[in-house]
Symmetry: C2
Subunit: 401 residues, 2 copies
């Protein structure tokens, strides 16, 4: 029947590529492998007993929780989020500005349903999170890319690119920006650039999707104001997730935005999964209500600060320092290494041989680039594994120099 | 900013209509309203304590369950389903033939991603489940419709329609069929027609999506073989869900199909929600492993048989029998009434005034029709409410005759 299916597959299916990281899982799971690949939290600090405590809600409100939920999200969880996110959002979100989603990946999917037609342009940082660009690609979007430096997206490059696109009759639908502890770069957009980015949005009438899964996981320095809180014209859609601040297995995220857009996204959500898992929403709500979210955050930060520091030290100890460059991240999950003299695909193979897994940088590019870069996640491995993994990686690098 | 968003919305967003049933919720929730509208299970029989028992898995395997899951689904749940569904599937499904989804609505979404391009044709029963047709519509599909009678889809009408479409150069991508206890019609496709439908699929090279959320909920007579089990050529994608046999709040469904198609669907799933809720998958697995699924099914069937019978009796007691026609369903959730002399929108308004909620039949039509029909769900209301609701509905009908 192979021939039959080949003739039936959609254009998107013909063009689709699996996520290289998801596909790497069988390599990563080899015995003895140290993984810096997937952006996974450390299961050792999952709040298992606190989350288990929250199951009381399944016993006490089982009849509600086991029924269909409203598409917009479980009311008590929305109320909690509205209050809890207020410091970051600059105000309490109204009910109609907030949508609970099945992970923050679904925010991208629903936004694309709501505003992207085939051939529309989305402006993305280059490199960017491939889970998001994969979804944009599936929706038929074309990409315009903006490079980043240590201060985040190079916002000053936007006007010229946008004007050229608009002159060519292209519809630019939104700018996708990972503002804090960028995936894969680790960098954070400065306040000046945040303001400049909003100015661009206002000037050209192009909204911004602010993707902020890592924002709460800051090790050093002060939190910067979100684009959403700086925005005075309702041009920012803010996406966040419980994956990094609680646990990815809950598969819950949320987004905030103008009510009329949230409404459209919710209608599309009716057609993709009706509502997010009510059981999970109720458990997460009860966990939050008992104060565990607030209490867990400093633990995550302390735990991952140690790991970030362990990786920094291990790099200094084991990598060929003249041939590798990086910027120490102030939060989040990732280091981004630059190896000007080393091809990353060769490095990847040598590293796998030595039982350490990294993600080649080009994985995160929609265009060309990243062939001398790799992303390393420090949250999953133990400090001892981080040291040993860096030693193996350094050895793999030296073989290629 | 309204103008801005109006200029940004996608073509699909411009054309999208919210699910009338989801939108009806505020009406249905009025105090004193008896609802025959939403296709909701009765929360009174949710297996709350058995499901709560299953939470032990969150305590004992918390670190696994709270982590990201594989896109294809939680392994133990897939293994369980492969064995448990074998009698219905005709054999044990292989791992690569089975995909766990975020409700069975997501099966339709992922299948559309995998095989439907804008302008392709999907053949649907008319009327059909609007959650599915909404998703198909969003993907830009065009519809060809096939009418149904008491024996299900009128399969003999297919060849002429398909040949005309193929002659016109249209790509017919699949046939969507709710084989058992159709939503909204309540009818079941006969064995003869199942075989004839497969013949059509083979003859024209058009696969079938067999949507079977109600199949296990049979009150009378014997289970009929699924299309999937009758299929010898890998042309059937089978979709099912835990929503009606356990609880919709788990938001879990699954599908079975040819490995190469399942693989494509899983890659699209990476881009829409990464994986289905692992917490929910683990809870459902543990619930099933403890034998509760098997034990709960006869309870559901007994409970809903009583309600179906209560509605049958109440109709006979309260409706103007000369002016209303129906077929008693052998399973599932729904009655479909025909009222040749009554416009259903007028009936809907009168019924709401009398505090009983129904769904107008035209809601389920992608084309014209259903203006003298309505769908009534008997699973949600109590037998007393069913009697009183039918009395109110009969009174509303008489006002319009």
């Amino acid at each position: 029947m192979s021939q039959l299916w080949d003739s039936l597959f959609s254009e998107a299916a013909g063009a689709i590529k699996p996520s290289p990281i998801r596909e790497m899982l069988h390599l990563i799971r080899q015995p003895g492998m140290i993984s810096f690949a997937g952006g996974m939290p450390d299961p050792a600090i999952f709040p298992v007993s606190e989350f288990y405590e929250a199951t009381a809600i399944l016993r006490d409100s089982g009849r509600d929780v086991l029924q269909y939920g409203t598409t917009e999200g479980y009311g008590p969880l929305k109320d909690f989020l509205s209050a809890w996110t207020a410091p970051r959002m600059g105000r309490r979100l109204k009910e109609e500005e907030l949508l609970i989603t099945s992970g923050s990946t679904q925010v991208v999917d629903l936004l694309n349903w709501a505003i992207v037609d085939k051939g529309d342009v989305i402006i993305v940082e280059e490199p960017s999170f491939m889970g998001s660009t994969l979804n944009m690609h599936n929706h038929g979007a074309d990409f315009e890319t903006i490079s980043c430096d240590a201060e985040g997206m190079e916002v000053h490059l936007l006007p010229e690119k946008i004007e050229a696109l608009q002159k060519a009759g292209r519809k630019v639908k939104y700018i996708y920006c990972i503002t804090n502890f960028h995936n894969p770069l680790g960098c954070t957009l400065t306040v000046e650039r945040r303001k400049a980015l909003l100015d661009v949005a206002y000037r050209y009438g192009i909204p911004i999707l602010e993707d902020d899964p890592y924002g709460y996981v800051r090790f050093d320095g002060d939190h910067l104001p979100t684009l959403f809180s700086l925005d005075e014209k309702g041009m920012v859609i803010y996406a966040c997730s419980f994956s990094k601040i609680l646990a990815p297995g809950t598969r819950l995220g949320w987004c905030a935005g103008p009510a009329e857009l949230i409404r459209k996204m919710a209608i599309f959500k009716q057609g993709v999964d009706v509502c997010s898992c009510v059981v999970s929403q109720a458990l997460v709500y009860e966990y939050c209500r008992q104060g565990h979210l607030e209490a867990f955050l400093p633990k995550i930060i302390a735990h991952y600060t140690k790991k970030r520091d362990a990786m920094e030290e291990a790099f200094k100890r084991h990598l060929p320092l003249d041939e590798v460059h990086w910027v120490k991240p102030e939060g989040g999950f990732f280091y981004w290494l630059e190896t000007p003299k080393i091809d990353v695909d060769e490095l990847f193979r040598k590293a796998i041989d030595q039982k350490v897994a990294i993600v080649p940088g080009h994985t995160f590019f929609v265009g060309q680039g990243g062939h001398h870069n790799c992303r390393l996640c420090y949250t999953f491995a133990s400090p001892e594994e981080i040291d040993e993994g860096a030693r193996r990686l350094g050895s793999a690098m030296r073989e290629l120099l």
